[in-house]
Amino acid sequence: MNLQINNLRTKAIAVCLIPLFLLLIDIAFDNLGANRIQALHTRLGDWSLRFLCLTLAVTPVQIITKWRGLSDYRQILGLYAFFYGTLHVLAYLMIDHGLVWQMISIDIIESPYIWVGLLAYIIVLLLALTSSKWAKKLMGKNWKRLHRLIYIAAIAAVMHYFWQLKGNLAEPFFYSIIAFFLLGFRILVWIKNRQLNKIKVLDDRQTITLAEEQGKMPETIHNSTKH
């Protein structure tokens, strides 16, 4: 059983490398079109955004399908968002700008669309650095707080996509709808949980009053609610 799961994990890790493999083929056969460097650069960015969306989709899919095993793959998907994001950043720095730092700094200072992209990347970087089970244990409650930033990363990444286009908004629109649904789903779950908690609190109170009336409360609570 364990072996089978590990096997699936290995397969998942391999499958996530297919986009990179296809990109390398396109580079080798010069299939990237007239603006090959931009094509390379945006392909990597696209895949980072796609893996970010997939990572976000794990919990909703899990809740809907009640398939618990999926959460094992969240870490892999998230790390691939980081992997392609890193290649995207490296392509920008090394290939597009040839590490000419003066040109890079002017470009970053003058381009607001890069600021939001950078924000998304820094978040994904932090999440990748703290993605191990060890870090999770060490950070306790703060881990969950930090990893909620993935929503900010998703919004920033979609904005980064939108803002660099002169006009063609169809594709980023598609991603923002996906991000909207994923976020919306989480918000709905959150609201529902809050309502459930309230009802639970009310239920508890009702049981307390009922119990009190019947004089069946345990001693400690009975004492504290003495009139």
Binding site: I27, G33, A34, N35, R36, I37, Q38, L40, I95, D96, H97, G98, L99, V100, M103, I106, D107, I109, E110, S111, P112, Y113, I114, W163, Q164, K166, G167, N168, A170
Partner: protein, 319 residues
């Protein structure tokens, strides 16, 4: 024994690129004639070797030092929003455009307004090759050997009145053939561009009917397009059907769509960033993976010729 020599080739022995090109053309022409005599030439062969305008004289501001971008890149990477919002599809979709018996309406503040057939216009004009830089507002650039004639000469032929201060250009409206016009996507159609009269009269400004020695491909603006090399590419309107001389500046398509992002002037200027991205550098089409971006030049490198048109103007304000 191998004798290694470090002797450099003297400069006098390096073939002048112009002569080299000329020789190649002669060889190409000879080959083409031979091939034509022996077998039926295939259309691709004809296109490559029997170009329509093989050895045109160069325009005054054509730069021989510029290396043209590979023609295939220029043909397959176009912003032609009437056909598609991406850069690849227009190469296929634009082939449906009807460009035969094309006429251009010239009207407004001119002594001789009228509807002129492109054929008749071309009969009066001398075609030249103009190797110009082309810089897109999106941050990429290319070098294109256009075939065209001076816009000033055409305007002078219809005798502008002294009241003519601006020129408005209107592109073709064929919604039945242009899918994005049909669906009313993005901009107000037809596409409109404009220039100040002194910009239109400047010798750098041309109307192009060809590129790379051949007839202009439809996706690149056939049969007649504007080329204003010191401005961002969207000013160089394609498939022109109307030229109007006006007293007031026309409302142009992109500045109507996003006035804070695309101004009337839209001169190439590395110091004035687009609100969302820098204009400091550009990616040259066709460059290898090891070539970094090129630094963008003020007025796209044509400052010597055009800077005086804007003396005393705040280019940050009049972007």
């Amino acid at each position: 024994m191998i004798i290694k020599s470090n002797k450099e080739i003297p400069a006098s022995e390096i073939t002048d690129p112009l002569i080299f090109k000329e020789r190649r053309n002669i060889i190409k022409a000879a080959l083409a004639t031979m091939a034509a005599a022996v077998v039926d030439i295939s259309p691709t062969w004809a296109e490559d070797n029997n170009s329509v305008w093989a050895n045109l004289p160069k325009g005054d501001f054509s730069d021989d030092l510029l290396i043209p971008t590979p023609a295939e890149s220029v043909k397959n990477y176009t912003n032609y929003y009437e056909f598609a919002l991406n850069k690849q599809d227009p190469a296929k979709l634009a082939q449906n455009l009807r460009t035969d018996s094309w006429s251009v309406e010239i009207s407004g503040e001119v002594e001789e307004p009228g509807n002129y057939y492109l054929e008749d216009i071309l009969r009066q004009q001398t075609l030249q090759e103009h190797v110009y830089r082309f810089r897109c507002v999106e941050g990429w650039s290319m070098v294109v050997p256009w075939v065209g004639f001076s816009l000033a000469k055409l305007l002078k032929a219809v005798k502008p009145l002294s009241t003519a201060r601006f020129v408005k250009f209107t592109a073709v409206h064929q919604p039945e053939i242009m899918p994005r016009q049909r669906s009313n996507a993005m901009l107000e159609w037809p596409y409109v561009e404009g220039l100040r009269i002194d910009e239109a009269m400047h010798p750098l400004t041309i109307l192009a009917v060809g590129m790379y020695g051949d007839i202009l491909p439809k996706q690149n603006g056939a049969p007649l397009r504007l080329v204003v090399p010191w401005k961002y590419g969207f000013k160089s309107i394609k498939a022109i059907v109307k030229i109007e001389l006006l007293k007031k500046p026309p409302i142009t398509s992109w500045s109507q769509f996003a006035p804070s992002e695309y101004g009337f002037y839209s001169n190439v200027n590395p110091a004035v960033a687009h609100p969302r991205w820098s204009q400091n550098s550009e990616r040259q089409l066709g460059s290898s993976f090891f070539t970094p971006r090129r630094r963008t030049e003020l007025f796209n490198g044509y400052g010597e010729q055009v800077a005086s048109l804007y003396s005393g103007m705040d280019l940050r304000h009049f972007f």
